[in-house]
Amino acid sequence: MTEKNIYLPYLMRITQITEESPAVKTFRLEFVDEVAAQNFNFKTGQFGLYSAFGEGESTFCIASSPTRKGYIECTFREVGRVTAALADKEVGDIVGFRGPYGNVFPLEAWKGKNLVFIAGGIALPPLRSVIWNCLDLRDWFKDITVVYGARSVADLVYKHELKEWNERTDINLVTTVDPGGETPDWTGKVGFVPPVVEQLGLSAENTVAIVCGPPIMIKLTLPVLEKLGFAPDQIFTTLENRMKCGLGKCGRCNTGSSYVCKDGPVYTLAQLNELPAEY
């Protein structure tokens, strides 16, 4: 009996590279193998292990929407060995991809609700996938609000898409940069994400909030949402525990009885409250 090698990645060709902000890039990746391309499916919220052959693998979410066929995209910040090697790649180069892994955002369960996305810094990629997914299924949902903050204007990722969302009438985009991070022509808000959320006058009624960002932003945003009346099972976030296998084996992402790579990365605040705070 021959079993499949679960560690073997797909070969992917880089077909487009976008420089998002200093040290942050988006790759568009297409399957080298036609059959693999045909059979590949994923859902929003899932992630994968991306290889730079010669250096190793790194975990990134799939930042494109499953409604956009024929390619996947990832957005990553250069922080170490593998991400540096990836950042050196050019259009036409080959990288590896294993996935999709992990659980998903429950879009079906969100039908008929208002959605509020709150993202900070480089944490927009996981939300970009689900935002585009929701925009492509626009009539499933009521109001869609996106609050996105970064340290400075230069640190905002997906600038051209922010512009597009800003111009659309079926999505309410609020961008903000930290005090001192604004430029003379900046038209968004100036201030940290949590108070900006507080000032929006959101109603928790029939609404889910999806929050992704650095731990400090999440920590300060949750009390604001609670004050607005959001219950723990109305708040979603994604965890980024360090991962090696993505398959529920290497043990690295384990916290409590959860493997973040299998049971996550998407959790409700209600679920997180049940786990030891080891993330």
Partner: protein
């Protein structure tokens, strides 16, 4: 139910010869350089006479310290991927203790609970276990506190218990029967010995189900910090542990080719959970020690309906600063 036979010393000699003729290597505890470790043997006479256990566990037969997962060659604009095959050798593990024999089940649970790991499975398929019951235990042993025992059959394909002139042989599984079928004449009728009388006596040290039930409420208990003060985070306990399954994936490459390797790892290392941002979910050694206990006594029961600890005591014997797992578990159970 097991079929019970007698296997005389002489016939065991014969069985080793038959196994080797069948193309299997026999690994057994051997004394060398003041240590007892598993090694290739030809005859039972080479097997250690006085061992309680080997220092290292037998897990590397199914989960090697380093395993190649894939390899590749690269050229500008192209990559050729090569699948890796485990090339598992047909192996009989002779003389492992009942605790260690049981540990393969804990590894199996992780390697196959969802995705199936072909490397582990290929090696497991080619391995058979002839366990030998313990007639003595030491201070580190606590199998009887974690559902096992010095003559427990779980995990062995054949379990031998020393008796006058040879062994009582319990043939337990299909793999065990296949071994017996290689030379059925060597297995003579059993003689109705009560193996419980022969096996080592080991008092239960703590109430494990009660401990498992109270762990979720003990996460913030100061006890973990106290216990971990001497731990230097060397990882030895995980490396000798027959159930520790955590691994790293590393790349070994030059500009033209490379391979991806799976290597043993440990939750006791500070780098294990370190994020690229510098944030570390388990910042202190006490959090890492706690993970070790919780993973084995809380996560495993919850996820796999079994314990992640077999009570072999290898960690205690290997620890350079004398962390005694049994004592620490007793303390936790009484807290």
């Amino acid at each position: 139910m097991a079929d019970t036979f007698k296997l005389t010393h002489e016939n065991l000699d014969g069985l080793f010869a038959v196994l080797r003729k069948d193309g299997r290597r026999v690994l057994a505890p051997v004394d060398a350089d003041g240590r007892t470790e598993l090694n290739d043997v030809e005859k039972p006479g080479q097997v250690s006479k006085s061992y309680i256990q080997t220092i290292m566990s037998a897990k590397d037969v199914v989960f090697p310290k380093v395993e190649r997962l894939l390899s590749y060659t690269t050229e500008p604009g192209s990559v050729e991927l090569h699948d890796a095959e485990p090339h598992a050798l047909p192996t009989v593990l002779f003389g492992v203790r009942p605790c260690e024999a049981k540990a393969f089940g804990a590894l199996d649970a992780v390697f196959n609970w969802d995705y199936r790991d072909k490397f582990f499975n290929a090696r497991l398929e080619k391995m058979a276990v002839i366990g030998v019951s313990c007639t003595k235990a030491d201070d580190a042993c606590f199998c009887t506190s974690v559902g096992g025992g010095p003559a427990d059959t779980k995990g062995s394909d054949i379990l031998l218990t020393p008796i006058d002139g040879g062994y009582l042989a319990e043939v337990l599984t299909d793999k065990g029967k296949a071994i017996q079928a290689l030379a059925p004449q060597l297995f003579t009728p059993g003689n109705g010995v009560d193996k419980a009388m022969i096996a080592a006596k080991l008092e239960q040290a703590f109430d494990q189900p009660a401990l498992t039930a109270k762990l979720p409420g003990m996460f913030e208990n100061k006890l973990w910090e106290g216990q971990s003060l001497r731990c230097i985070g060397c990882g030895a306990c995980a490396y000798v542990c027959p159930t520790c399954v955590c691994f790293d994936i590393q790349e070994e490459a030059d500009p033209k080719q490379g391979q991806r390797l799976r290597c043993w790892d440990s939750c006791g290392f500070s780098m294990f959970t370190l994020h690229a941002s510098g944030h570390n979910p388990r910042e202190t050694q006490s959090a890492r020690w706690r993970q070790r206990i919780y993973h084995k006594f809380s996560t495993y029961p919850e996820r796999y309906q079994m314990l992640g600890c077999v009570g072999c005591g290898k960690c205690t014997r290997a620890c350079p600063v004398d962390m005694n797992l049994r004592e620490h578990l007793v303390e936790a159970a009484n807290a």
